[in-house]
Structure formats: C-alpha cells, structure tokens
Symmetry: C2
Subunit: 442 residues, 2 copies
C-alpha cells in the first residue's frame, strides 16, 4: 500500500507517534518527501501527565490529541493507525497489520514498555503506566478499592483495600505516590461514611538508596521529606521479592497486604528492537551510531526511548521527552540535508542538551534542577506548571488542563473520579448491557 501523492519523491516511514516520531514529522521540511507515520494508537500522548489521569485529576482527552489532527496541514504526511509487525532492513520494507511499506529512509521511534525484570507474571497484579488504557485501569482499580472498602465489614480486608503500594522511586513513582496521598487525604476525605480515606496507606518502595536517584542528593532528600509530609511511607534500599494477588513481599521479608500495587520501576524497549539483528543493551534498546543511525544501515534511524546512546560529551542520553524531541529534530535536519543533494554533508554526532529535570510532589511542592540552579517548593512547582502547560499539544488541551488545575487547587476536588470499564469481560464479548448478567441491575 503506497500513498498516492508525490510517488516520485523519496518515501520516509516513521514508526511511532510519540515525542520523537511526531517531532520528526513536524520538523522535516515540508514537501521534501512523502512521509508515512504508523502508530497503533490514534493519538499522541503527553506522557508526563499520564499519572494525573490515573489519579482522577485530568480526563483522558486532556492529555492526548489525534495524531492526524495534529498533522492535518501536512499534506505530505499520511498517518496510518496500524501495528508494526516487522522490519526487513535488507529489503527496506516495514510490515504492518494493514500491509507492507517500502522506504527510502526509516525512523524507528517505537518507545518503551513496562518491564518487570523477568517477572512478567507480576503484570496482572501490578499494572504499569505507559498508555491511556493503563491510566484508566489504574484509576478504576484505585477508586473501586475505596468503594469496596466502604461496603466491606471485615477489618483486615478493609485494611488491604485501603493500601496502595507504588514500586519505583523515579519521577513516575514519586509523582504517582504524591497524587495518591493527596487523593485520599483531601479529595475523598468527606465523601465516605463508614471509612476514613485519610487513613489509607500509600507506600513507595525504591530499591536504590534514595528516591529520584537521577537528581542531586539534597533534592532527593527534600522530595522524600515532602512525600512523608503528605503521608506517604517511603521505603528505600529494599527490593521487591514477590508480587501476588494479596499484595507484595519485600526482600527484607516484610509483607504488605495491598489491593493496589502500581509498577513504576522499569522500562525496556519494545520487542521489535530485538528482531532487527543489530546490537541492543540490557534493556533491549538499540545501540545506535553517534548520528542515531543503526550500525551498517545509514538510512535507518532510531529515536526516543528505544535508543541507548552515550553522546560525545560522555553523557548517557536519558529516556525523557526533551531527549526524544531533540532526536526527532536532529534526524529531520539530517534527512532534509541529504535529500536532493548529490554529495550529502558529513553527519555531525547528536548532542543532547539537558534543559533540566523536575518532578512534582502534590500541591505547591516540587523539585527542579535547571542547569546549575536547583529549586524546590513553590518556585519549582510554578516552573513545573508553566513547562507542562506550554509543552502540551493543542490550545484546547492547554485551556482545559488549566481549568481543571485551577478548579482542583481551589476546591480540593478532582474532576475525573469516574469508574469506567467496570466489567471488561462483558466488553470482550461485544455485548451491550442488555446481554449482561441478570444480577447487575442498579
């Protein structure tokens, strides 16, 4: 299947509409090539705010935009919603569920997925947070546990229902734990009659010696203090030994009975990376050349979380959205420079520019490192807000998120406390409620 327009122009195929793939499409000079962008989802997701959908602060559409809507004015870009099933580098072909695409240039930006370090059986008890569906599943599970606790008479079962364990003390885990503590201590506080949501336990487990290991030690300490102030129990330096239906066991032997375990500990590359026959690192990520091309395949690039790279300054490029966007931009410039030139310029190596990192920990509190400057508390939180609003794609989304945040800030409420998808099995059977079990009547 080939797009119709400009069949004479070189064909660039882009796999993945995350930060890397989308930035590439937007930045490639218009009209130079036919571009086909494949993604299994119809939307680009603003992942940094995904935890807010999981904790009922934002609605799913607030942080996602249809890919084809973002690129509607790029008539040279065709967007296909389809699953990539394989790449044949020798034949320069990509197979996907809807057919086969030949390419002149290929950009692999398929990102990562939740990794359980060989314990894939933990997935069903400890969902990760990579997609809108993941976030909605966590929201459903967490809110349902409080509902079940209100009905439950047994003390022990009630305690389990009101315990949430977050595994992984990186930014995702820290932001998640902070938001969950706020949810139970302020948002839900006055809504129940038989339980006291403020007594819910939120436990953050981190295998390393401190939370936010990528930040300077004093910011880690501040983040941990802020988490404790919100009521989060922080356990550092202890690994997870087992996760099962009833909760989890730590390497220390401690058992935590918890209805909800949320996994924010590991990410690895999507499996396709391992099928290309090129070197990968321990997390399955592609070891690319300094110009982000695959070794031996100069017209095939990789970008974003699927890449493992140490840049010329000796810095390991982190798996964060600014790095992905910089890679997308770099590859767009490289390809644009080579198209229509008989003797393409020599490629310069990709250099990552670290604009800083930040993590928010509940209301009015955050930590941030921007260049040499370190912030915490209110200034870091304000910076976090501004950056996240600015980088959200779409005017509507920015206004809507600002509105939700303003509302939540002043009312201590959250606007998306919906339990949806109650009965996934019903949906799997394709049946409408009429065909559902007779006892579900309310």
């Amino acid at each position: 299947m080939h797009p119709k327009r400009g069949a004479d122009k070189p064909h660039v195929v882009v796999l993945g509409a995350g930060f890397a793939g989308l930035t590439f499409c937007k930045r490639l000079t218009s009209g130079l090539a036919r571009v086909t962008l494949l993604d299994r989802q119809n939307h680009h997701l603003f992942q940094p705010l995904l935890y807010q959908v999981a904790t009922a602060g934002l609605a799913a559409p607030d942080i996602a935009q249809p890919v084809r809507s973002i690129l509607r004015d790029r008539r040279d870009v065709t967007v296909l919603m389809s699953d990539v099933t394989g790449v044949d580098l020798a034949r320069r072909e990509v197979s996907h569920t809807g057919g086969v695409l030949g390419y002149d240039y290929l950009v692999i930006a398929l990102g990562g997925r939740t990794s359980y370090f060989g314990h894939e059986e933990w997935a069903r008890h400890a969902p990760g947070l990579k997609s809108i569906d993941d976030a909605l599943a966590i929201r459903r599970r967490v809110l349902s546990a409080f509902e079940d606790a209100e009905v439950e008479d047994d003390e022990a079962r009630r305690g389990k229902l009101m315990t949430i364990v977050v595994v992984g003390g990186g930014p995702t885990g820290v932001e998640m734990a902070g938001a969950l503590a706020e949810l139970s201590r302020t948002v839900l506080r006055r809504d129940f009659r038989r339980i006291d949501p403020a007594k819910a336990r939120v436990i953050l487990v981190e295998g390393g010696p401190r939370v936010l290991g990528a930040f300077p030690a004093n910011l880690s300490a501040k983040a941990e203090r802020q988490l404790r102030r919100l009521g989060v129990e922080v356990r550092t330096g202890v690994a997870v030994r087992e996760i099962h239906e009833d909760g989890l066991e730590l390497a220390s032997g401690e058992r935590l009975a918890a209805a909800n375990v949320i996994w924010g500990a590991g990410v690895s590359a999507v499996p396709l990376a391992g099928t290309l026959g090129v070197p990968t690192d321990r997390a399955g990520r592609l070891r690319v050349e300094p110009d982000l091309s695959l070794p031996g395949w100069p017209s095939v690039f990789a970008a974003g979380d699927i890449v493992s790279l140490t840049d010329p300054s000796g810095r390991v490029v982190p798996g964060v959205s600014p790095a992905a966007m910089q890679m997308g931009r770099y590859i767009a410039r490289t390809i644009a420079g080579e198209l229509g030139t008989v003797t393409p310029p020599r490629r310069k190596p990709f250099c990552y520019f670290d604009k800083g990192t930040m993590a928010t920990i509940g209301r009015s509190a955050a930590v941030a490192k921007i260049g040499w400057a370190e912030f915490c508390g209110w200034p870091a939180w304000a910076a976090w807000l501004v950056v996240h609003i600015l980088f959200l794609i779409g005017f509507r989304n920015r206004i809507s998120v600002l509105l939700q945040w303003t509302y939540s800030y002043f009312t201590y409420r959250r606007g998306a406390r919906l339990i949806t998808g109650l009965d996934p099995e019903r949906e799997a059977q394709g049946a409408a409620p009429a065909a559902g079990p007779e006892n579900r009547m309310t």
Copy 2:
C-alpha cells in the same frame, strides 16, 4: 450491613442514583431518616449528553459526577457502590453484592436498559447507549472504522467501514445521527489522505412513519429536513429484520453493509422489576399506584424509567429526565410528610408537569416544544444549550462543557477523538501491555 449513625431513625433505601434516585436524596428533608443509596456505578450520569461522548464531542468526566461527591454534605446519606441482587418485599429487605439491607421505606429507581425486542443477539453488533462504557465503546468503534478505512485497499470493505446505521428515530437516534454526520463532514474532513470522510454514509432507520414521533408533525418534518441537509439518509416506515456482523437487513429486503450499527430503538425496565411479583407492562415496567407506590406495598415506591404510569390528567408519563426528577421530588415530599406523624396525611396522586421537549440536530439547529410554543432552528438550539448547561450537575462540568462547545463551534474540531480500550481481551486477563501479544509494538 447497617450504617452507624442515627440507628434509631427510620431507614430509607434508594436503589439507583439516576435522576429519580438522586433527586429524591437531595430533596428529602435532611435529618428525618437514615438514607442508603445503592448504585452499581460510582457516578451519576447526565444521560441527555451521552451521545456527545459517543461522538467525541465531550470527555466522559464532563457529563458524570461521583454520587458520593454530589451528596458529600448530606451526612445522613450513605452511598454504596454495589449491585442489587434482589428485593424481598415481605421481609422488607434488599440484597446486594455486599450484603443485605433492611428498610422502612424503599425507593426503586433502577431505570431502564437497552431492549432489542427479543433479539438480544443483536446486542454485540448494534450497541445501545445507556452508560459511559457504552458511549466509549461506540466512540472506539466509529473512530476505528475511519482509521481502518484509511488503511484498507478494497473498495467494498472500505465502503462498509464508512457506513454507519442508527436504528431508532427518537431523540437519541436523531441527535446521534446528526452528530455523526457532522463528525464525518466537518471534523474529520481534512485529516485523512486516502479516504474522504465527507463521503461516509450515515443512515437513520425508523420503523414509525416519521422521526421524533413524540413531537408535533411539523417539527418532525423540520427535523428530517435538517438531518438531510447534514447528509443523513433518513428511512422511515421500515423495520429492521436482521442485524449481523456485516450490517443489517430491513423489512423491505434492502441490505445495508455497515461496520457500525447503533441501536437507539428500545428501552425496557431492568430485569429486577419482573422479580417483584407486582404487575408490569409490556416493557417490563412497574405499574404503580397514583402515589407511585407498588400495589399492596404502600412503603415501597418506584420512580423514573422503571415506572409505567398514566397520570390523573390521562397523560402517559414519558421516560424523560424531568419526569424522573419530578417523581423523586414527589416521593421525598410524601415520605417527609409521613415521617414523625402519627396520622399521616392522605397521599395525593402524582401529576406530571410537561415542561417541553427538545432535540438538537447538529450545529445551530434543533427543534423544541415548550408548552404551546414550537421552535426550530437557531432559537431552539440556543434554548437547548442553555437548558443542558443549567441542568448539568457541578460547576466544573458546566464550565468544561461550555469550553468544549465554544471550542468546537469556532474550530469545527472535537476534543475527545480518542480511541481507548483497544484490546478489551487484554484487560479482561488483567495483564499490562508487557504481557500483551508480541506483535503489538507501536
């Protein structure tokens, strides 16, 4: 399981947190009784706007509010999210998945469900529209069909993917068909490269002689004209004979190949109504006394769509939200008047006050009948907007819906074009993406 507070006060159990049940709880004088409200969902749903979630105009949280959040200041009301499994009128007990509740007064407000007139097997091919999950499923199916059409090479299959049939010409069907036509003709128009969404067929099938059969004939005619102007093919006076995977067959013998069939034709009472041993009508609804009590059970009331009643003026009370709210209010007054009185006043019959009906048909067009006055076009549309914003529950929701509508009006875009829940089977297995099929990689 009994609530703790005020155990000496009479216990009122309310089944269902729709318009009837929620209005009852809000209107019953505070402190007179212990009230327990049961619902299988955690949210009250503003059903009149559900079609806008199904057609990507609004996000799900915009039209729903957590029940316990709405009633947070009513300390005498306990909300339990639980499925009702049975009512024992003789023992004055309600069983639900979390236990058994005794009652002094019972209000049954469980509403209706999609009915396929004995063809329950149609449910999997023609989803109805009663819950948030229904709406999200329809949104997923409709948006996915356009995505699949963009990838599809075969002309016939592409035509099927781009055909949507709406069965039922009542307000739900009319509003749905209008919104779908607008979606394909304006919103999606410039976003695809290989298909022209404006060529999508939207067909509205109605068994009766005209659409909006409950409206005056001239308004029906205007609504039909407006639908045709939007590009909807309207087929009246023809019943559906069969619905299957490939589309549907009409009684006229015509076959319509359609990837999406949406069912807006029938509603019946939930099955519980049939288990009470009291008279029901053909749609399974409870035939109540003029005071909305069940015959022979003066302390058991029914309200909302589960009720079949002709009021003293000889008018059949319609299954619309104003009627449900009026019933809830009436029962609250009745019970409040009897509590704490040795000789309760004689109950007056319930009278339905018809405030009018309206239906919107796309941008700037609607029909409305308010008292003797009939409107159409822009004035009816403006009235529709004002009424729907006013009756939405929650300040945040009102602002958010206003924002979305303003945005859509000026940009011809829709803010909730998300395909979520792509793989319900995965969810049913409780597995995170990591455990998903290896070929889903993008």
